[in-house]
């Protein structure tokens, strides 16, 4: 008999899917409609403006007849008018306007300022006749609206412009910078260098959106009324251009949005409909068999052929089971994908779980005489995850491996740990997967060549479900394969939720120009260099005066997406408001921010620093959970501040040149190299403290705080260039041969080159380049001597030598602290700066001994 429940299930699921589909389409249609309305409105506005502009053209044509001299100028104006309409980049148009003003009205110097609505200040946007320094200075000075309004005195007014002659002593007093204008006598009718003539840019409604300011007339005469009027005509054009351009900008933006929304809608729609049609097809297949066999049974109900009846019932039974499995998988997948899924994490042993799975797989593997092997680097490897879900994943991978392996083959489960990540590999000696298929195997219902589906039955959702589960844990699943040799699936799982990889939260923000990829690398870089398990990057949402998390490592997705902090509130808010770093040693006892420790923080210490671009706070970097479990110190603060400056530099560079993917790539490369360097140096025993030692030593030697921060940073990155050197060179036993030596000698140059894209202080490059120079001039790469070597480099040189002596290199055994210190002293004056060596000895004479004992215990 048919289990009717299964049939109902099947139909209910199909109906549910269809209903969801219809609802989704309806909301998309709505979204599209509203976008289209705003698009139409924008087009309409533009038409209006074009008409207005045409009318103005008529006016000019009339004026053209009035005077010859004027005609020449107005012709130019008209040329510009055309270019305003055909040229959509505002800066370009404004540039042409100021040059037209210069040509047509005869002023060598022209400046155009545009009001920034958000800040209420006039910003210099276009210039004629000014050199680069002057332009930069003008760009830096912003004129507040109130100051501008104070100039609009009736007594200065000429037509709709303002002429402030120097006799009015408008600038009579010395200004802020102590500059007193020279107020000599004026020759009759001549322009004086302290005269000011400016034309406000009025909109139709009389609002001011900017102004033109002119100086240095070609004829050296006081401006005539005609000149002023010419300026005013040009000013009207600037107004149209500015409004036109901003309209176009908005129009373009909404068109891009419309396009994106349409694309997204179409993509989603395609995905959904292909999913729905595949599901319905997959549901029909077993259903068809069931119906056909049921009908045949009913028609032959009187038959005495019991074997036939039994056979038919077996088919119905099997097919209904298949249907049920299919429905379960579809429902499960839709739950996983909609995020309505509850995951319960608990610590358990992966190795034990795999043993369990292998037992479950035994009937399958025995039937095909396949040997299932289990390997692991430790008897017990514990993770915090959803045990039931992971069991499904390993079962899926295991049964797939057996399914696609010939009789007598081998399937291996291999479990290893790598830092805070557990790696489980399921390897088989089966038929393999062709390269072009590999990309699609995680797709829903995908089976390698559907002809195999008869030989290897399955619903084709196993890998998709597995992938969803692993990704829900913040992990990753990878597939490698060679046809006819076998396949290997690798599951990477974070040991705890907090070890998950970086999660980014995409939301609209002015900094969207910094890509997800770069943001992710930034957070990764900070976490790695700072040796912190948790790191987050918050951005300022200026409109709402809030901070939100752009990306984080070690935080749950809900936290990343759901956190919003008012500027001024809590720790990050304080940092954003004051633009100062904040170091909290024990959150529970801190008088300012005392509160119970959040469960996501294993240690009670945290560190937050602002990210500033041009003196403005644009974000906050927070780190928690130092891997060593000790509290953060002032040394960490110096290092993180320094990193934050580099982050700001990287962003500025990338967003200044938004469209330059080269710059993004260079920046990404620099960050990746620093991440790799940090990971590499963590393998050494007592490293990581190098930045800390650099800070202490720098302070002891009386360096400025700013230079100490630089030193902390350089200590962390000075060897990034080593990553490019062939490993075999470094691990060659015995002394380095000449070629290898040349390779090594290049590394300061390489390091400097790698960090260049995120560097803005020459000092950093200088120190990196010079950290292998010697006092006696026999160092590399430049052979600098004594004081020629920057003090920072002399410090890093001592620390680097000390580190390599006490850690040992492939060509040299590790020394004790005392021996190393002895060696440093012997080389002072020749290799090292004596005063650095002495300061080092005083600082670490006692401390270091205890540290080494501790390190020795660990080893």
């Amino acid at each position: 008999m048919i289990p009717p429940v299964d049939l109902i299930w099947a139909l209910a699921a199909a109906v549910l899917l269809l209903v969801e589909q219809v609802r989704h389409r309806r909301s998309l249609r709505h979204e599209l409609k509203s976008l289209r309305t705003s698009y139409d409105a924008a087009i309409h506005r533009n038409d209006e403006l074009t008409q207005a502009s045409d009318k103005m053209g008529d006016l000019y044509r009339y004026q053209l007849l009035t005077s010859r001299k004027r005609a020449a100028r107005i012709k130019k104006v008209l040329e510009i008018a055309t270019s305003i309409n055909s040229n959509l980049s505002l800066d370009k148009v404004l540039h042409e306007i100021v040059h037209a003003v210069s040509d047509a009205a005869g002023f060598r110097i022209v400046l155009l300022r545009v009001l920034n609505d958000a800040s209420g200040e006039f910003e210099a946007r276009a210039f004629a006749g000014l050199n680069r320094d002057a332009i930069r200075k003008l760009e830096q000075t912003r004129i507040p609206r109130s100051e501008f309004e104070s100039w609009l005195k009736e007594e200065f007014r000429v037509s709709r412009s303002y002429f402030i002659s120097h006799e009015r002593k408008f600038w009579g007093e010395a200004d802020d910078e102590g500059y007193t204008p020279e107020l000599g006598a004026r020759q009759e009718g001549e322009w004086h260098q302290e005269d000011v003539l400016f034309v406000p840019l009025y909109t139709k409604d009389g609002a001011v959106i900017g102004y033109l300011s002119v100086d240095d007339p070609v004829d050296r005469r006081l401006p005539s009324r005609e000149t002023v009027e010419t300026l005013e005509i040009l000013a009207t054009h600037a107004v149209v251009a500015i409004q036109n351009a901003s309209l176009y900008e908005r129009l373009n933006q909404s068109m891009v949005q419309l396009q994106e929304a349409t694309d997204r809608a179409e993509e989603l729609n395609d995905l959904k409909s292909s999913f729905v049609s595949t599901v319905s097809h997959e549901l029909r297949t077993p259903l068809t068999a069931i119906r056909a066999y049921v009908e045949a049974l009913l028609e032959n109900v009187g038959s005495t052929n019991v074997d036939m009846q039994r056979q038919f019932l077996a088919v119905i039974d099997e097919q209904s089971l298949k249907l049920r499995r299919l429905i379960d998988s579809v429902l499960e997948l839709s739950q996983l994908e909609s995020g309505r899924f509850r995951m319960s994490r608990e610590p358990f042993s992966v190795t034990a779980l795999i043993e369990e799975v292998v037992v479950l797989l035994r009937p399958m593997s025995d039937a095909k005489k396949i040997a299932v092997q289990v390997e692991s680097t430790a008897a017990e490897i514990v993770v915090e995850a959803d045990r039931g879900l992971l069991k499904r994943v390993f079962y899926n991978l295991g049964s797939n491996a057996i399914k696609f392996t010939h009789e007598g083959g081998t399937v291996t489960f291999r479990t290893t740990t790598e830092g805070r990540v557990v790696r489980v590999q399921v390897e088989d000696t089966g038929i393999g997967i062709a390269k072009e298929e590999l990309e699609r195997i995680f797709d829903k219902f995908y089976q390698i060549d559907s002809s195999l589906s008869r030989e290897y039955p399955g619903v084709g959702l196993g890998l998709t479900v597995s992938k969803s589960i692993v990704e829900w844990h913040g992990g990753e699943i990878l597939a490698e394969s060679d046809t006819d040799i076998g396949s290997r699936f690798t599951v990477l799982l974070p040991v705890t939720a907090g070890d998950a990889s970086v999660i980014t939260h995409a939301t609209w923000s002015p900094s969207r120009s910094v890509s997800d990829h770069l943001t992710r690398l930034t957070v990764e870089m900070i976490a790695e260099v700072m040796n912190a398990r948790t790191a987050s990057l918050m951005l300022v949402d200026e409109e709402r005066s809030e901070l939100y998390i752009r990306a984080a490592r070690g935080l749950r997705e809900e936290v990343v997406c759901g956190t919003r902090i008012k500027i001024g509130d809590s720790i990050a808010g304080w940092v954003a408001k004051h633009g100062q770093p904040l170091l909290v040693t024990n959150i529970e006892e801190d008088p300012r921010f005392g509160r119970p420790n959040g469960h996501q923080y294993e240690t009670k210490s945290l560190l937050s620093v602002p990210v500033k671009i041009d003196g403005r706070v644009v974000g906050v970097i927070n780190i928690n959970n130092k891997i060593s479990c000790t509290p953060f110190t002032e040394d960490d603060r110096a290092l993180l501040s320094s990193l934050s400056d580099r982050v700001a530099q990287a962003w500025r560079r990338v967003s200044d040149h938004e469209r330059s993917s080269d710059r993004t790539e260079e920046t990404a490369k620099a960050l990746a190299a620093i991440i790799e360097n940090a990971r590499r140096s963590r393998l050494k025993l007592n490293s990581g403290s190098m930045a800390g030692r650099a800070v202490s030593l720098g302070r002891k030697l009386g360096l400025a705080e700013e230079d100490v921060e630089v030193l902390a940073y350089v200590a962390s990155v000075h060897d990034v260039g080593m990553g490019q050197i062939d490993h075999s060179v470094l691990h060659e036993p015995g002394r380095l041969d000449e070629e290898a030596w040349a390779e090594v000698a290049l590394h300061p140059l390489r390091s400097a080159e790698i960090v260049k894209p995120i560097e803005f202080q020459e000092l950093v490059t200088e120190i990196i380049l010079a950290h292998h120079e010697r006092m006696d001039g026999r160092g590399y790469p430049r052979g600098l001597k004594g004081e020629q070597i920057p003090i920072g480099a002399r410090i890093i040189s001592v620390l680097d030598a000390y580190e390599s002596m006490t850690i040992g290199r492939p060509y040299r055994h590790a020394m004790t602290h005392a021996d190393a210190l002895q060696e440093l002293r012997q080389c002072k004056g020749t290799q090292f700066d004596p005063k650095v060596v002495e300061a080092f000895a005083q600082l670490f004479e006692s401390q270091e001994n205890t540290k080494l004992v501790r390190a020795g215990e660990v080893a």
Binding site: H281, T288, I290, A292, A296, S451
Partner: protein, 133 residues
Amino acid sequence: MSKGKILVVDDEIYIVHILDFSLGMEGYEVVTALDGEQALEKVKTEKPDLIVLDIMMPKLDGYEVCKSIKSSAATQHIPVILLSAKGRNVDQKLGFDVGADDYITKPFSPRKLVERINQLLGQTVTERPTRSA
């Protein structure tokens, strides 16, 4: 005495079995194929009187097979019934475009399929007690 020879093509073995059973009960001789290539082979060697053809199959799909049968002078007279889970109008249209004589969507009733086959082959429907499922 066989009423005629019918080629059943489907990659789902259960479907092939049940059609074999139902058509056999009706007095037809049944030959089977599990994919498109096999189907074309069997058309040549077995010279069936009618073909029941699934669409979604590995190697060569039903449309291709049908097109090939209908474009060869030797075989174009053989009636083809397409049998498919693809139930949309476009799928049906495509089926008729490639020359199919009928299009039946899955899930289907074997009884009704037999009736269609009888009609296409000009056979009278055999009286059998029927029970609607």
